[in-house]
Symmetry: C2
């Protein structure tokens, strides 16, 4: 069902110096599928992350936060699919820590240098014994070329593995940025947690990486939505091995920082869009651009109100230029003192709403024309200021209901 989303050519995913990837079939939820992924990192690798804000953050998310707060550099990431280790209380915390211990022993590292990630069913205990049995195979398969295999091993209800890679010169040296992601909603629970791992061989000071991961998240993964729900396990992690011989980027400004940010965004944005393209039951990929806002927050609220409205999403599924629903969604965003008479809205290149009402030039057949393709852009001008943002989403189809109604059966 994914919308214009081919699987990445494995050859397009460049190795990142200092990163090796391994995988195994641990049988965590289902037999005979790769569901365990290990990423080994060169000594001195720094890592920064952003995590779910859900009040029921899963045990691995809590362990990641703890390890990232306490540690300077990291040696491994362990990711399992099939079980979220969420809503599992103290036993879940012990399971996440035990997984770190196992990896630490296998790689000769400290447990605090290992970051754990889980995605899958909620409220079931993580079978650490199966991870223990499968870990040697994971270690044996470690290889810098295994990005595509890693992208597959972390999938759950994804229909397409998601990976992206760029090379760019920074300070005269070739720097690589390669990332993988899973999730068929940024914002969905159960098997649909979003996980994204992007690695670079650039040398980046940890405080700078902490800023970079947030700046990138706010222009990529935090701008995609499938159904407005937020998973208990959502995680986006940025890894810098520092294996490229170049001066460290030690300030969140300047040409080197900006070149790196551009390269990471070039990986992160298509990965984020891939999540909406592979959204559960998606038949359309929708870009919502909101401009003329008084603040970034206001722009984002309007964009999300449109992108998350079930009525708007079903209209997109029907390729129906239902202008009333778009107007309603803008009005519901809670923008204080919105002047309806200044609001304009375009579907693709067609002006459909001006001064808060149907444009005099609008013809239904023009609306139908721009709603027909699999990719649609909605552009809103609030007429209040200069702030703008872009959000990506997908439509709601029969298939969305089917997938989520029948998911556990």
């Amino acid at each position: 069902m994914a919308v214009n989303l081919p699987a990445p050519d494995p050859g397009s995913l460049h190795p990142v110096a200092g990163v090796e990837l391994g995988f195994a079939e641990a049988g965590i939820r289902k037999a005979n599928r790769r569901d365990l992924m290990l990423m080994r990192l060169a000594p001195g690798t720094v890592v920064a992350g952003v995590f779910t804000r859900n009040g029921f953050a899963a045990a691995p998310v809590q362990v990641c936060r703890r390890h990232l707060a306490a540690g300077d550099s990291f040696r491994a990431l362990l990711v399992n699919a099939g079980n979220a280790n969420c809503g599992t209380g103290e036993q879940g915390m012990r399971a996440a820590l035990a997984s770190c211990d196992l990896v630490a022993r296998a790689l000769g590292a400290a447990a605090g240098e290992v970051l754990p990630f889980s995605t899958g069913v909620i409220l079931e205990h993580l079978p650490v014994d199966r991870i223990e049995v499968a870990l040697p195979a994971c270690v044996a398969s470690l290889n810098p070329a295994h990005w595509a295999e890693a992208a597959s091993a972390i999938m759950t209800t994804d229909t397409v593995p998601k990976g992206r890679s760029v090379r760019t010169p920074i300070d005269g040296r070739a720097v690589t940025v390669t990332g993988i992601a899973k999730g068929v909603g940024m914002l969905q629970p159960d098997m649909a947690t979003m996980l994204a791992f992007i690695a670079t061989d650039a040398r980046v000071a940890r405080p700078v990486l902490d800023i970079l991961v947030r700046e990138v998240a706010d222009r990529s993964f935090n701008r995609v939505t499938v159904d407005g729900d937020t998973s208990t396990n959502d995680s986006f992690v940025l890894i810098a091995t520092g294996c490229v011989e170049a001066p460290a980027i030690d300030a969140a400004a300047g040409p080197a920082y900006e070149a790196l940010r551009a390269a990471v965004l070039e990986v992160a944005q298509p990965l984020a869009q891939a999540i909406a393209r592979d959204g559960e039951g998606a038949t359309k990929f929708i870009t919502v651009e909101v401009g003329g806002a008084a603040s970034d927050d206001e722009a984002l609220r309007v964009a999300r109100s449109i992108a998350n409205s079930p009525l708007v999403k079903t209209a997109f599924f029907a390729s129906d230029p239902n202008l009333g629903r778009l107007l309603m969604a803008i009005g519901n965003a809670g923008v204080e003192g919105l002047d309806a008479s200044r609001v304009g809205l375009w579907l693709g290149d067609v002006l459909v709403i001006e001064r808060g009402g149907r444009s005099a030039t609008y013809r239904e057949e023009d609306g139908a024309r721009v709603m027909a393709p699999a990719e649609i852009t909605v552009r809103v001008d609030l007429g209040r200021g200069d702030a703008a943002t872009t959000v990506w989403t997908c439509d709601y189809s029969y298939e969305y209901v089917k997938i989520n109604a029948e998911y556990r059966t």
Copy 2:
């Protein structure tokens, strides 16, 4: 598709002294259906209302707000179905005011004593000429016994007319409260605007009625949700004709006020629930009770997060006790400092989550048993305080997508 929602027996809807109802086929959107309703009120009738907070409030809502702010008593309500008169700019305002003029002339009242209401498609101009043609038939059919006909005349995509009536002694006099509503979402646009009109023959001072309408709304219509979207035309109006010979209720406290509030709630709550029972594509009626909250606002946020989550609603459609989604929805409510280990959750009488994890006593077959019926109660204890609230909603079915995808075609 409505869940346990029979049409009201016309004989059960008691006339309210001072209220007459008329109807006509105006052909506003479709021919050969009643789509115009006129309610004539006795001189001295006071009216209070609560209206949509959507930034694109429709022209009739704006006129209602203006007339209610300026006037003391009111002589008529005019309701049309088929056209929302929203997103129609100055022309829409002129159309709403012209409708009031027509009614005022027909009934010998002032235009400011008429309140207009519209529900139907957005962004199309209201055909006032058709209202003008149909109004004499409306006036000719005015009758105190026409509540059931009025309930039908204001329907759009409703599958069942909605009415409710009670009689209760207040200060030794028999007082009647009768109401009608339409809407298959509190919170939906297009044809799905919620309109509710409740009339009583009690004598109530206008400032008291203004308080009463809000108190009742917060325990009825503001506690129902179908999909989280808010219509541009939602209106709930409380009418007190004062035709019962009794002392006026002139304070929002005391036995007479409380007896009246109880009677109005006894009408308003089933009408509000009827909206969820008749929710688009509904197969389940779901009651979400949240207790142990630190504040009313917090309780409401958690209840709405559960009631509006597409993932929770599709699980209800599937009769699937998907505990992870319920946990996720609580965690997404944005409750500051939520202690997951204090949260408990019941499905019907079955404890499923305690101390933030799956209850040791929970058995999947018990969950399946309470999820099977058409009516399901979810009860949450946040373990933080004494505030509590209740929200009513319905599930998301294939039919919801079908109705909303195919609505305009």
